[in-house]
C-alpha cells in the first residue's frame, strides 16, 4: 500500500474515506515500480488505452446525431459532416482514430511477441489482450456498417455470410444475426446497439488486463525478472512522461490524417449509399483486417477459409505452450530473431494480398503466406525454441553482467 502523504486537507479527507489517490499512486503513480529499462515499444500499451478513450468519447457524441435506420443512416452521417457543429471533425477523428487504434494495438501485440511477454507468468495477461483484440475487431466491423454506404453494406453481407459455412445450422444462425433474410434494418439496429456497448466491455477487459499486468509487473526488453528495487523506477514520473512524449507523436499523426487526409484510409465506395442490388467491383475491408481477409480467401473451401481465419487468431492463445524457448526476449535468441522478422514480413504480405483482387499470382502468394503463418506458429516456434542455444543473458536489469545461458534459462522459468 502507498504510504503517500497528502498535504491538501480536502484530498486527505477524501483519501481517508475512499483511498483513491493511493490506489492511483499504486496503479500508475510513483508507488508502482516498473522495470527501469523499458524502451519506446512499451509506449503502445498506454497509447492503446488512450485511443480507446478517444473512440468512446467521440463515439458517444456521434451517437447523439446518428440515426440507425436504413432510410436515414447515410443521410444522418452526411448531416453530421455538413450541419452539425464540428461534426466533420468528430467523425474523421472517430474513423481515423479507429484505424490508428488498430495500428497501435498491432505494434503492441508484436512487441509482446518479440519480447516473449506471453510466457510464464503472464499467460492470462496475454490471453486478455487477445480477447481485447477480438472484441475490437467485432466493434470496428459493426461500426463500419453504420454509415450504410456500399462498403458498409457489402462488408456486413460478406462477413455475416461467413456463418453460413457452418454445417446444418449455418443458415439459421445467419438469419438470426440478420433478423431477416438479408442484411437489413434489424441488422443495422442491432449492430448499432452492439457497437455502442462493446467498447464498454473492452474497458472491462482492459481493467482485467491491467490487473494481471500489475500482478507480475511489466516484462522488459531483457525478458528477465525484476530482482529487487534496484531494477525498478517509479512509473510516475518516469513512464508517465515517457508515455506523454509518445502520446504527442501519436496525436500529431492522428491530426495529420484527420485534417489533411481524412479519407486516405477509407474507401470511396462508402460515400455511395448502400444498394442491396449491386455489389461494388472490388470489395476490400479496412486495411487492419486485410491479413485476416487474405487468410480467409487463401483456402479454396468456404468452411475451410472460415476455420483458417479463426485459427489464425486462436493460435495466439496457445503461444505460452507453443513457445519452448528458455528465454523470453528474442534479443537473446540468435535463430528465432530471423523468424520473428519473417513473420512480420509475412503478415505484411498477407495484408497486401488482402487488398488485391483474388486473381493470378496473388492467389498463390496468399496461399504461401497463409501457409507460412501457420508453419511459423505450429512448427518453427516449438522447434527453434527446442534446439536454439540462447545468447548469454544478463544477471539483472540493474547490473547487466552476463551469465551463462543455462543459468538465465533457469531464471526465466522460475
Amino acid at each position: 500500500m502507498s504510504n503517500m502523504q497528502l498535504k491538501n486537507p480536502i484530498l486527505r479527507w477524501i483519501e481517508y474515506r475512499l483511498p483513491i489517490f493511493s490506489f492511483l499512486d499504486d496503479s500508475l503513480g510513483s508507488n508502482y515500480p516498473a522495470p527501469k529499462n523499458l524502451n519506446y515499444w512499451w509506449n503502445f500499451g498506454s497509447l492503446a488505452g488512450i485511443a480507446l478513450v478517444l473512440q468512446i468519447v467521440t463515439g458517444i457524441v456521434l451517437a447523439m446525431h446518428y440515426v440507425p435506420h436504413v432510410d436515414y443512416a447515410f443521410d444522418s452521417v452526411e448531416r453530421i459532416m455538413r450541419e452539425v457543429n464540428y461534426g466533420w471533425f468528430l467523425r474523421y477523428l472517430h474513423a481515423n482514430g479507429a484505424a490508428l487504434f488498430f495500428l497501435v494495438v498491432y505494434v503492441h501485440v508484436f512487441r509482446g511477441l518479440y519480447y516473449g511477454s506471453y510466457k510464464y507468468p503472464r499467460e492470462i495477461l496475454w490471453w486478455l489482450g487477445i480477447v481485447i483484440m477480438v472484441l475490437m475487431m467485432a466493434t470496428a466491423f459493426m461500426g463500419y456498417v453504420l454509415p450504410w454506404g456500399q462498403m458498409s453494406y457489402w462488408a456486413a453481407t460478406v462477413i455475416t455470410n461467413l456463418f453460413t459455412a457452418l454445417p446444418w445450422v449455418g443458415v439459421n444462425i445467419t438469419e438470426w444475426l440478420w433478423g431477416g433474410f438479408t442484411v437489413g434494418n434489424p441488422t443495422l439496429n442491432r449492430f448499432f446497439s452492439l457497437h455502442y456497448v462493446l467498447p464498454f466491455a473492452i474497458v472491462g477487459v482492459v481493467f482485467l488486463h491491467l490487473w494481471a499486468l500489475h500482478q507480475h509487473k511489466s516484462n522488459n526488453p531483457l525478458g528477465i525478472d525484476i530482482k529487487g528495487p534496484q531494477d525498478t523506477i517509479p512509473f510516475h514520473p518516469y513512464y508517465t512522461y515517457k508515455d506523454l512524449a509518445g502520446l504527442g507523436v501519436f496525436l500529431l499523426v492522428l491530426a495529420a490524417f484527420v485534417f489533411y487526409s481524412p479519407n486516405y484510409m477509407g474507401h470511396p465506395d462508402n460515400y455511395i449509399p448502400a444498394n442491396p442490388l449491386q455489389t461494388p467491383a472490388h470489395i476490400v475491408p479496412e486495411w487492419y483486417f486485410l491479413p485476416f481477409y487474405a487468410i480467409l480467401r487463401a483456402i479454396p473451401s468456404k468452411l475451410g477459409g472460415v476455420i483458417a481465419m479463426a485459427a489464425s487468431i486462436f493460435v495466439l492463445f496457445l503461444l505460452p505452450w507453443i513457445d519452448t524457448s528458455r528465454v523470453r526476449s528474442t534479443k537473446f535468441r540468435p535463430v528465432y530473431r530471423y523468424f520473428f522478422w519473417f513473420l512480420v514480413i509475412d503478415v505484411i504480405v498477407l495484408g497486401i494480398v488482402g487488398a488485391k483482387p483474388p486473381e493470378g499470382i496473388w492467389i498463390l502468394v496468399g496461399r504461401l503466406a497463409t501457409l507460412y503463418y501457420f508453419v511459423h506458429f505450429i512448427i518453427i516456434m516449438p522447434f527453434v525454441g527446442w534446439f536454439e542455444r540462447p545468447l548469454p543473458v544478463p544477471d539483472s536489469i540493474h547490473k547487466p553482467v552476463l551469465v551463462s545461458a543455462g543459468a538465465a534459462a533457469v531464471e526465466a522459468q522460475r
Partner: protein, 180 residues
C-alpha cells in the same frame, strides 16, 4: 496527464518552468479539445435555418384562434373581438406582474400572435378552443400549475413569471404573416 502537479514522493521533479509550461499547455489543449464535443450538441446549421413559418389569416373568424407550429413550438394566433381588445387595453399595465402594454404586444390590435408555451415550466396553456377554460381573465389557462393569462397573453395570476412570449413576426399583407 494530471499527476504532474502532485508534489509528493521523494523523486518528484521540482516545479520548475518547464514542468509548469508543459502542464499549462496540456491543460489548455485538453480544454480546447472539449469545445468541439460541447459545440456539436448546439443546434446544427440546418436546425437554425428552419426559422420561419407563414400563416394565412384569411380563414380565421373573429373570436377564433388557430395554432401553428414554429421551430417545433406551438404559436397561437387569435383574431380578437372588440371586447377582448378593450379588456386588454383598459387595464393599467404598470400594475401587472410583468408590466407590458397591449400596444407593445400586438402590431395590429385585431391579431394577437403568441408562443403558446407557459413561461413557468413549458406546458401548453388551454384556451385555443371555445370549449376549453380560458382562466379568470378570458385569455389562456395553464392546467399544469394554474397560471392565468389575459386577452393579451399577459400573466395575471399563478406561478408563471412572465407574459406569453411574442415571436418576431411581420405582416406580409393584410391576411398573411411570417413568423421568425
Amino acid at each position: 496527464m494530471t499527476s504532474a502537479e502532485h508534489g509528493h514522493g521523494g523523486e518528484m521533479p521540482r516545479r520548475d518552468f518547464l514542468m509548469v509550461a508543459t502542464g499549462t499547455v496540456a491543460v489548455v489543449g485538453a480544454a480546447a479539445a472539449v469545445w468541439p464535443l460541447v459545440d456539436s450538441m448546439n443546434p446544427a446549421s440546418d436546425t437554425l435555418a428552419l426559422a420561419s413559418t407563414e400563416v394565412d389569416l384569411a380563414p380565421i373568424a373573429e373570436g377564433q384562434s388557430i395554432t401553428v407550429q414554429w421551430r417545433g413550438k406551438p404559436v397561437f394566433v387569435r383574431y380578437r373581438t372588440a371586447d377582448e381588445i378593450k379588456q386588454a387595453r383598459d387595464i393599467d399595465a404598470t400594475t401587472l406582474p410583468d408590466p407590458k402594454r397591449d400596444e407593445e404586444r400586438a402590431q395590429n390590435p385585431k391579431w394577437l400572435v403568441l408562443v403558446g408555451v407557459c413561461t413557468h415550466l413549458g406546458c401548453i396553456p388551454l384556451g385555443q378552443r371555445s370549449a376549453e377554460p380560458r382562466g379568470d381573465f378570458g385569455g389562456w389557462f395553464c392546467p399544469c400549475h394554474g397560471s392565468h393569462y389575459d386577452t393579451s397573453g399577459r400573466i395575471r395570476k399563478g406561478p408563471a413569471p412572465e407574459n406569453l412570449q411574442v415571436p418576431a413576426y411581420t405582416f406580409l399583407n393584410d391576411t398573411k404573416i411570417r413568423i421568425g
